[in-house]
Symmetry: D2
């Protein structure tokens, strides 16, 4: 492990009042190499942070400030942007120019090719150069590029769970890419803290449904990385579902094996080897399938595997905490890499069960 810096790195969070923001604040206040120096958000500027989140009483002394990029750049070496889509791409250039490292949790910097973003997000953009510079912040696949990046496009929650389950399959050519089906299930915190009727407990509890079928915006994000892994164009079927729970994503992934003779033990060996140097991915033993709550409040991804000799398919189950490995703690994992620190620094590894 590299040593900690003599001085802590000054870090700011823009958009600190949402769920992504409060995870970042919780993580960064306990991170041994970081000092949180700025919390921002226009709508709550002037409010004490513990007025918004009283459970942090005695832990966070900062007040929410307005979003003034010059002031932020003066006070922060690293800035996390945790804002709705379409805002980060207006802020990051100024911050980068002033020498900040930027980690964006929105979709703005996830696409190498802006035309994909434009067509799926319905927003005009002409900053292709900056988009192309940004590195996709999935450390298990792009560790080296993240180390030297100054701008990170942090992955969506569904793509994180999906790609960690798919990567060994495509990288090793084990499966037929055109057969990939991802049936994903998420807790409702993925919808954010803004009040929406369908996210009310009265509506979402005791029930279950799919949404965004055949047109969810995480589809092209998954496809971009699958295409990269398979080294040819890949189209996937992606279906998200809303589950009556707060946190957690389970992606159940189906693919037809190229070699139907592969058995579960073979696949466990291949997956274990693939993730040998990835401390945050746990390949579960034979016959154990992941529970999403095992990942609650941690940066871990649990993978379970099954091969079905009757159908020739592999079934991969990938479980994460959507707000952690699917969002905030993965961004801090990227920060650790960018700073040359241990990849695990300051990140929670074990939940309290049940």
């Amino acid at each position: 492990m590299s040593e900690l810096p003599a001085e802590k790195v000054a870090v700011g969070v823009v958009g600190a009042s949402g769920y992504g923001g409060v995870q970042l604040v919780r993580l960064l206040t306990h991170h041994p190499a970081v000092e949180l120096t700025y919390l921002g958000g226009d709508s709550s500027a002037g409010q004490s942070y513990t007025d918004i989140y009283p459970h942090l009483a005695g832990q966070v002394a900062l007040t929410m400030e307005a979003v003034d990029l010059e002031a932020i750049a003066d006070r922060c070496q690293v800035v996390f942007l945790s804002l709705p889509n379409g805002l980060a791409c207006k802020m990051a250039p100024t911050l980068l120019e002033r020498g900040c490292r930027v980690l964006d949790l929105s979709a703005d910097y996830r696409f190498e090719n802006l035309s994909t973003y434009v067509s799926w997000y319905g927003v005009e953009r002409d900053d292709q150069a900056m988009a192309a510079e940004a590195v996709y912040g999935l450390p298990e696949l792009f560790r080296d590029r993240i180390r030297t990046a100054r701008l990170i496009g942090c992955p969506g929650c569904y793509p994180t769970a999906s790609l960690l389950g798919i990567a060994p399959l495509l990288k090793q050519g084990l499966a037929q890419p055109e057969t990939l089906i991802i049936d994903a299930k998420s807790g409702t915190s993925g919808g954010g803290r803004a009040a929406k009727t369908n996210m009310l407990l009265a509506e979402a509890s005791n029930s279950l449904s799919a949404y965004g079928v055949a047109r969810h915006r995480h589809t092209p994000e998954i496809e971009q990385i699958c295409t990269h892994l398979a080294r040819h164009e890949v189209t996937v079927q992606f279906t998200p579902h809303l589950i009556p729970m707060v946190r957690g994503i389970l992606a159940t992934i189906y693919a037809t094996l190229r070699d139907p003779g592969l058995v579960r033990d073979d696949l466990l060996t291949i997956y274990s080897a693939f993730y040998r140097s990835s401390p945050w991915v746990t390949v579960l033993p034979n016959g154990v399938y992941p529970q999403t709550k095992w990942a609650w409040g941690t940066n871990r991804c649990f993978l379970g595997l099954e091969a079905d000799p009757r159908t020739g398919r592999i079934i991969v189950m990938s479980a994460i905490d959507n707000l952690m490995k699917g969002q905030a703690s993965q961004a801090v994992q990227c920060l650790n890499l960018m700073m040359g620190w241990d990849e695990a620094l300051g990140l929670p590894a074990v939940t309290f069960y049940p």
Copy 2:
């Protein structure tokens, strides 16, 4: 509608203390053509039924009795068997011989070919003739045979949701059967009332996982009917998941269309036509996907459809109440058919939302 009988039909429930049993008791006490004359179960014999289920105070005056087949046959014209697998096949012959109609909610009479049952359930059976006589109690597909049956093998909860979603596809030859993937999600009441650690609220709440991947016993049951519909051997991929809610099943079904030119409107038209005479199946309009709670406490199945032109697949979402259309109320629907009554008699059609 045919007229109600001058005298009510005497009905008994063996295995009345479980979740299937209490649904039957609730339905049959409110059914206008039925009189509940016997409730049985060896472990709770002698207990007043409202001691077991106090919410029925003032509604059910019966006491649980021991399982004495002769006594049951004396007092009942129709008997529902709601017991663990392997018991009904020991009781039904006696009851049938004595002239009772029998509706079995276990797996014992679901398989035309006993060898399938034997290999998936691991139990020896040699009553192939009786198994072959039993009719699979899915009224939307086997209405005519049910009308004249004396022994019904009521479908499992997952097969009901799955088959109602799949039937038009296979019957009309719209999809490639070997591409069928059923990703199903169920509330925990499907596991019954017996106390199991993994079904505790402390374990199952706030979490989500798959189970029985590639080997759940509802797989051959689904395949048997798919094979019947497609008129050739069909193998399906079936994956059940445990959802932190009490009731409800959502089956998300994937299949590759034979004609990739079919669009959603075409499919809605085909499905609506297929279920025109089936009052319990609602094909939802364009872009509306079913919520499982819409079916709570009712005999309805809600179907939502999507065609994905990017992948050439159809995605069908099928939602039911696992204890009702997936079990008890579907059995009463079969009873209505067997008795020549209106198919909807005494069955709840609308839930209270939310």
Copy 3:
């Protein structure tokens, strides 16, 4: 039972898009003596009702209309008002003048003395005469007055659960009124369908808290009726809590007995006698405490009792469905009385458990 009318009574619902509204629509479409002729609400006027609530597909053919009092009075003999506080008192006079019966589900007509309303609700009102004419719609206590009323102020959900638990105590002088403490717990549907951050599943699930301590607006409503029952001024302690569930209220009520020699059996006898003619109140046997889900989707109230010889207190547990007996089905119970019909007509009595 009085006979049903030759013609169905025409009924309208103003404010049909909320949770109270959708319960009313569900109840009234299945009520044998009623025809639903108008559904209104300004914000959703023009929308098909099944666009708002797709689970009613095939059950309700009406479209939401703007709120035009003259048009409503032309088409309805009875009008339910299910609106935020402060609106009904502007509409009811016109409807009454045109000969309609009016049942208001808001707080506007719950107070005999308008000054109580004004001081707790912070709204000016000068229609004391109309307020005084309105009858408090709790049938178990005011059955006779409801029969002849033309304007009903339907009780709040907490007051319904609380007062049904308290009434025998105060009416018979069994308890010291100044010792009354009501610790009430409610599912989140009591907060309505409007999107609020604290009602999101992500916020309210897995958690529990009190709110409105010592100042909730249902306090004076409970006190008004307690004062009436005790025949002298009564002040109560009322504390509501938000529970991570959709429906249901449990009120746990504490009071010091005047005669500490009373035992549980005495109290059960007194309560059973008090509610002998009230089909919707079930006094549970010795040692059985109510579960809120026993009342789910029904008009029932379950009461459990305990006397504590160590402390000289009675503890009453009162469970209802907050949207049914606590709101919509109780309003229909009042309608039944106003029309001279059987009190139970068209009302659901038994839930599906679990």
Copy 4:
């Protein structure tokens, strides 16, 4: 803070497979001054600990062993006993004699006067001397005695939440003790990991009920400490409720103030002063009431206060995580005191919200 020991202290857990056990294992594996050397439990002896709890893969390498007191004493300096009531009192004497410190999480050592235990728990005991030696492990009240103890009777979950809310009232003579009513609400994990029907998700979800009214065994435990604080015999009313959530207790406490002129600000000042040296108790600001999930996975207790000038009562809301401050992490807090370490060592202070 005192320094950490040169060598880690060897610690064992008997009864490690239950919910209390797995919290201890999680806490102790991350505690900087402790080495976990023994995990025991007769029923699971021989099983790898991660077979029981797969989410600990890579974190805990121990195997469950049989309960052999001599072997345990050889390998452990400190032993936590996390067993059903009535077992610890048979094990602790041997362990103490061999020089171990013992922290018992059952009720066996909570009562100074064994006759109270005998009458409420229905078990014969004749080890009054050892019972009298044991110290009640509530650090905020008995910090000094814990520091020098060798045997700790760790408090129950309800008593912890209740007593932290009550202590300032009785210690300062602010309230009339005979008016104390504790209406407590708990998540279902308080019932442990043993499979019971009423704890199934299907039963306990979507519902709410009281249990053990007027006779729950935590009553005398609360009364014992209240009596100690008030310096005269105190009887309390205690009512527990089962809430559809996994973790958390909220105790809503009612008491009549001796001086009805006291206002909320006075009470906040008194409570804040009382807990000034108690880092784990947070007195919330004016008008903020605790959410149980704020304490999830932490050793914190959040207190909210309200004075009601209309009734002369104080209402205290006390929220903890029942498995942490209510059980396992409080036991580790006691260990920290016994060892002369910082009271906060190795204990989690902040949850991830929501």
